[in-house]
């Protein structure tokens, strides 16, 4: 009855999980903002995933793996005393107004990849994470809730706050 990871398990583990390597790396890279850390975290996450693969009973392999990648990333962020884990003080976001910058200006700059990337990198980790999961992986709210370990009902409001914050940072950069 005892189960140990063996040679044959590696094969099936790799077959199920390695296709999601790009997604794993992308998430870690956005969370850690550093290539070397991202690679270390992804490697560590795969190892952790392999050890608990017996607990994976089919279903959404990508979400399962990304949850582990996310948790591993946060462990490192906390160790490095990254202060941006959550949005504590800077919470008041005015969805309606960036008085100084018009919507037209934002639209004009919305193709500016460098600007958007910089603004996104400034966001707190939980915002970077949710934007990457939604816009780059195209995940559903349900999958995002599973990975970020928040109630499904929270996903929409967090996404809204993340986007509003991004818009605010973009506006700040444009008015410079």
């Amino acid at each position: 009855m005892t189960q140990r990871p063996e040679q044959e398990d590696v094969g099936s583990f790799e077959e199920v999980m390695l296709p999601h390597l790009d997604a794993a790396h992308n998430l870690a890279r956005w969370l850690l903002r550093n290539e070397q850390d991202a690679q270390d975290v992804v490697q560590e996450a795969y190892l952790r995933a392999f050890k608990s693969f017996a607990g994976f009973h089919g279903g959404n392999g990508r979400a399962w793996l990304l949850t582990i990648v996310r948790n591993t990333s946060y462990t490192l962020l906390k160790k490095n005393r990254a202060v941006d884990l959550t949005t504590t003080f800077d919470e008041e976001i005015h969805v309606a107004g960036h008085e100084s910058v018009s919507p037209a200006t934002i639209l004009e700059h919305s193709e500016d990849a460098e600007l958007i990337k910089e603004a996104m990198d400034e966001l707190p980790a939980e915002f970077r994470e949710i934007l990457a999961l939604r816009h780059q992986e195209g995940l559903s709210y349900k999958e995002i809730a599973e990975i970020a370990q928040i109630p499904p009902g929270t996903v929409m409001s967090r996404l809204a706050r993340a986007r509003a914050k991004l818009k605010e940072y973009l506006a700040a950069r444009m008015s410079k």
């Binding site: 077959e15 190892l47 919507p103």
Partner: protein, 280 residues
């Protein structure tokens, strides 16, 4: 609906995650309120550009090998010691009670019999619920396994396409020449699903065409082969190992789309694909 409520639901609306009733209410509000409609347009433009403008950090070459090496190292370390791991048990009382720990409760033995009975009932319920799902679409499940394997292989082995071209007039003749049927090939770039190329594959005991489309950074393999007459039926959706499979049949062909994009994206893909089909 007030403006505040509309703003609150706007993100869910843009992401296509609201229920139909909320969708309708917000659409009606946007028709009536110019201010919210403008906010909606700016917001949707921003949302589109986040996906388009931000870099997707693909795994660098070498990371895969690094991971594979560390997994093998892990096994090598583990094997000789042969550590037995505890399996979390569904019924701890049943499996973990050691004789020495048996308490002097008069109902002690009855309890474990009860637990055993409960386990049997539970197992029966699970089996009863699972059995129809496992049995009926057995052929489909087997095919689904083949389809996913083929999709994964195509991405793993650098063998995504035999003919790499976004031009449907290059891909189609190439496939026609190799197969005993002529699949329809359409480019869906304008709909957000650019054609990447085509490939020959072997599924369900016959050569099939695999058309490769891209959705953002993800790939969709669309497997096509002739349908048997009268085999039309409802669409089938299967989710497995994080992959979405969507199956449909038209008057000529069987289609199986396989990808790691979301179910919504795959449905949208099917819709635009069918829309682009030449009318017969």
């Amino acid at each position: 609906m007030t403006c505040d409520e509309a703003i609150k639901l706007m993100d869910g609306y843009l992401d296509g995650e609201l229920d139909p009733i909320a969708n309708q209410t917000i659409e009606q509000h946007l028709r009536e309120c110019q201010k919210c409609d403008e906010a909606y347009k700016t917001h949707s433009a921003l949302i589109r550009s986040i996906g388009k403008a931000t870099p997707y950090y693909k795994a660098p070459s070498g990371l895969r090998e690094r991971i594979q090496a560390s997994l093998r190292e892990e096994i090598a370390e583990r094997s000789p010691r042969s550590v037995s791991r505890n399996i979390p048990s569904l019924f701890p009382s049943l499996f973990q009670s050691k004789p020495s720990e048996r308490r002097a409760v008069p109902f002690g033995t009855q309890w474990s019999w009860l637990a055993l009975a409960a386990a049997i009932v539970l197992a029966a319920i699970i089996a009863f619920n699972l059995a129809p799902r496992l049995q009926r679409p057995g052929a489909d499940q087997f095919l689904a396994t083949q389809l996913i394997a083929s999709h994964v292989r195509s991405l793993m082995a650098n063998h995504l396409t035999d003919v790499a071209s976004s031009d449907q007039h290059t891909v189609k003749p190439w496939l026609d020449a190799k197969l005993d049927f002529a699949p329809v090939v359409v480019d869906l770039s304008s709909e957000g699903f650019p054609l990447v190329g085509g490939r020959l594959d072997y599924l369900d005991n016959r050569p099939v065409a695999a058309l490769v489309y891209q959705r953002r950074k993800h790939f969709i393999n669309l497997f096509v082969w002739p349908a048997e007459s009268g085999s039309a039926g409802a669409d089938k959706r299967i989710t497995r190992q994080g992959y979405q499979l969507l199956h449909w049949v038209d008057s000529d062909f069987n289609y199986w789309a396989v990808s790691d994009v979301s179910d919504n994206d795959l449905q949208a893909f099917k819709q635009v694909f069918e829309k682009q089909l030449p009318r017969r």
